[in-house]
């Protein structure tokens, strides 16, 4: 059986109906475990004090903010090449989730930055590219809303997803590319010497998995909504013609 068979809306709805309750329960439980572990059972950092606890929401939300755009890019390319409606609708469904995650990363970063850097905001490469990524999310959502024909909207937003991917990549690597600004490098790395300490590492990885599951759950739920909205539009158009 080919993976493309799940691009059939009926098959997608049937499968997602079975999977969604389990995914939702798992992401809720893991999110609770991660945030309780991170907030209540981790020590203060010797330099950052209790503000280090912000890492358990800031880092996972920032990772999802970037990777949601990567997912939208892949789904958009599938739409442009193979014209599968579910992929275009999945990209549309992911945008509000990515926008909220970007906003969480920006807000928690500002709240963390004020006591540590002495400022809420700096035109640092990573912060600035994140702000631009957030504006791209808003533009992407607005473009979908502004165009009546869903296929034209999918085409144009797919092009926007390709253009915006430059800023998704920059958001990830800005601190390394320019090697300047206030923001530190990665908190997690293949090199163990660059890692946060183990006492923060394990709850952080748990929080990242919880955010990934939350993202997948919400994207599946919102894709189902978009499929229903598309069918509703088609039925109403048929009624109007008769």
């Amino acid at each position: 059986m080919s993976i493309w068979e799940y691009a059939n809306p009926v098959r997608f709805m049937r499968l997602s109906d079975r999977v969604l309750p389990w995914l939702a329960a798992l992401s809720a439980i893991l999110m609770l475990v991660a945030l309780v572990w991170g907030f209540f059972f981790t020590p203060d950092d010797y330099r950052q004090g209790s503000t280090v606890k912000i890492i358990f929401i800031h880092v996972p939300s920032a990772m999802i903010a970037i990777n949601a755009w990567v997912m939208m890019l892949i789904a958009s390319l599938i739409w442009l090449v193979r014209r599968h409606h579910v992929s275009a609708l999945a990209a549309k469904a992911a945008a509000p989730v990515g926008a909220v995650m970007t906003m969480i990363a920006l807000v928690t970063g500002a709240v963390w930055g004020e006591p540590m850097w002495g400022t809420w905001w700096a035109w640092d490469p990573r912060l600035t590219s994140f702000l631009i990524l957030f504006l791209f999310y808003l533009g992407y959502i607005a473009l979908w809303a502004a165009i009546d024909n869903p296929d034209t909207a999918a085409d144009l937003t797919s092009v926007l997803a390709i253009v915006g991917s430059v800023f998704a990549v920059l958001s990830r690597y800005a601190a390394l590319i320019w090697n300047q600004g206030l923001h530190q490098g990665a908190s997690l790395s293949m090199d163990r010497a660059e890692h946060v300490a183990d006492v923060f590492y394990y709850p952080l990885v748990t929080a990242i998995i919880a955010f990934i599951l939350l993202f997948v759950t919400l994207v599946i739920l919102r894709t189902r909504t978009e499929i229903r909205a598309r069918r509703l539009r088609a039925l109403l158009a048929r009624e109007a013609r008769e």
Binding site: I54, V100, V107, T108, R228
Partner: protein, 56 residues
């Protein structure tokens, strides 16, 4: 049970509060919109089936 957050309590609680409010709003809006769309679609499909039946 509440950990001692020291002089940074306001910052840590603000970050967690803002994040939880935004996540809760996103989850609630997603569920609300899905239910609304399912209800509207069921109504229109029902109407459509009835109309097809009337036409014989």
């Amino acid at each position: 049970m509440m950990p001692d957050l020291g002089k940074y309590a306001v910052w840590v609680l603000s970050a967690y509060g803002a994040a939880l409010v935004l996540i809760a709003a996103l989850v609630i809006q997603s569920i609300w919109r899905d239910r609304k769309m399912a209800r509207m679609l069921a109504e229109v499909e029902m109407r459509s089936v009835r109309q097809d039946g009337d036409r014989g």
